[in-house]
């Protein structure tokens, strides 16, 4: 079976107050996560206060953009086109929800190496998806 990738209609992210840094970086094709200077741990999705220690001494780090598929699902009946929802663990150790794109969707597998690629949404902010590396 072959399930070709088609671009779904991605709803634009709606940043909450104070969250513009991440999404401005996305417009420039840069994927950010947060690192806590107090406890030394990184996290995603990014919070102003570290979820491990509550410190507000967190800083942005740009990801290399490569990772591996932790899990995924070829979603066949939720909208006009099939798409692959996934969790990807970045090389830096944080895991993010994403889509796997630009491939035969039936070839996606756990442990697969992937690299970030940005896809357009219904608004100005693109989102970080991943294609086979």
């Amino acid at each position: 079976m072959v399930t070709p990738y088609q671009l779904p209609k991605h709803m634009e992210p709606v940043p909450d107050v104070g969250e513009s840094d991440f999404f401005e970086a996305a417009k420039a094709g840069r994927l950010l996560f947060k690192h806590c200077e107090s406890c030394g741990r990184s996290h995603y999705y990014p919070r102003p206060l570290c979820p491990y220690c509550m410190s507000d001494n967190t800083r942005w780090v740009e990801a290399a953009g490569t990772g591996i598929v932790y899990t995924f699902s070829v979603t066949r009946r939720a909208g006009p086109v099939p798409y692959v929802i996934a969790y990807v663990t970045l090389d830096e150790g944080v895991t993010m929800m994403t889509n796997i794109v630009d491939c035969d969707l039936d070839t996606v597998h756990i442990g697969q190496k992937v690299r970030v690629v940005y896809k357009p949404t219904t608004g100005d902010i693109p989102i970080a998806c991943f294609a086979p590396a």
Binding site: E12, D16, T71
Partner: protein, 387 residues
Amino acid sequence: MSMKGHAYIVGAYEHPLRLAPGKSVSQLHAECAKGALQDAGLNLGDVDGYFCAGDAPGIGPLNLIDYMGLKVRHMDTTDTGGSAYLVHVSHAVQAIAAGRCRVALITLAGRPRSEGSSGTVVRNFGLTPDRPYEVPYGPVTVNMYAMAAMRHMHEHGTTREQLAWIKVAASHHAQYNPHAVLRDVVTVQQVLDSPAIADPLHRMDCCVVSDGGGALVVVHPDIARSLKRPLITVLGAGEAQKGLVSQNIDLTTTGAAWSGVAAFAQAGVKPSDIQYASIYDSFTITVLLQLEDLGFCKKGEGGKFVADGNLIAGVGKLPINTDGGGLCNNHPANRGGMTKIIEAVRQLRGEAHPRVQVPNCGLALVQGTGGSIGTRHGSATLILERE
């Protein structure tokens, strides 16, 4: 310390409708409340505590208290999704033991079927902090649980056939429930051949969407002994939240690993003592993960445990969801915890359908989840005993 004897479940009612186009959510709540109070042999004026969750229209409990004409001195609107009603039972026992109320009413109702709800659309929970980082990727209910199933298959070799047995068991039970949405007995092959929704879950791995609701009445021991209903007590309870702190992603474990341990410890019993279990079955995988996390089998061995009819009443070692569960019977308001408790009460009273009744059922477990095991979810466990 066990909660035994602090309070008793004396009223339980499941709304008979599964499609209710002509009834409001509020009316369904009120009809469920009336049914449970009648079942207990109590009246509107006896209620002095009210519990509801996010399915109740209005500001917490305020609008429905007004709508139903209640006069209460204790309110609790803890919302943990579909597991909330298990939490309410536990909190009601605590409130009664603390003298905060003597007759606690818990209601749930909804009409997602009439409103066209589906597990294949992105749900809107408002401006949650995670929303902008998840919603654009299309996280619908089904694919979130599908990702947990995919990972479990990868780590433990679980098969679609094994998952299908959970649906097969539900269908064997549902054939005896005249109110069930789906009453046909199905085979493993039929589950495998049903349409793929989100790999590896197919349509028959998913619960029904139904209108309706249910209600429970939990009372002080003095009142319970004045009524004519069997005495069902809570021996132990646990509640937990499991989320996604990003360095520790683990979609093959649910909050049952914590709420279950707490409930068993408080009850002073072990999984092998349980005669009947209601296990939340939003999807087949939900059941498998919770059975492992509750300790009915080891982590990773859920596939073998659920196969070959082991969950079918009269056939297997652990009969579950003898009303047909969410997979076949009912999933009102997209929140299955209430109906799970109700069927456990039926089993302990000896009021389940004779073909699925567990003989001399004296000890039952109820396990609920709510939210999404693919992101963040609530888990609650109750261990109930008939005195």
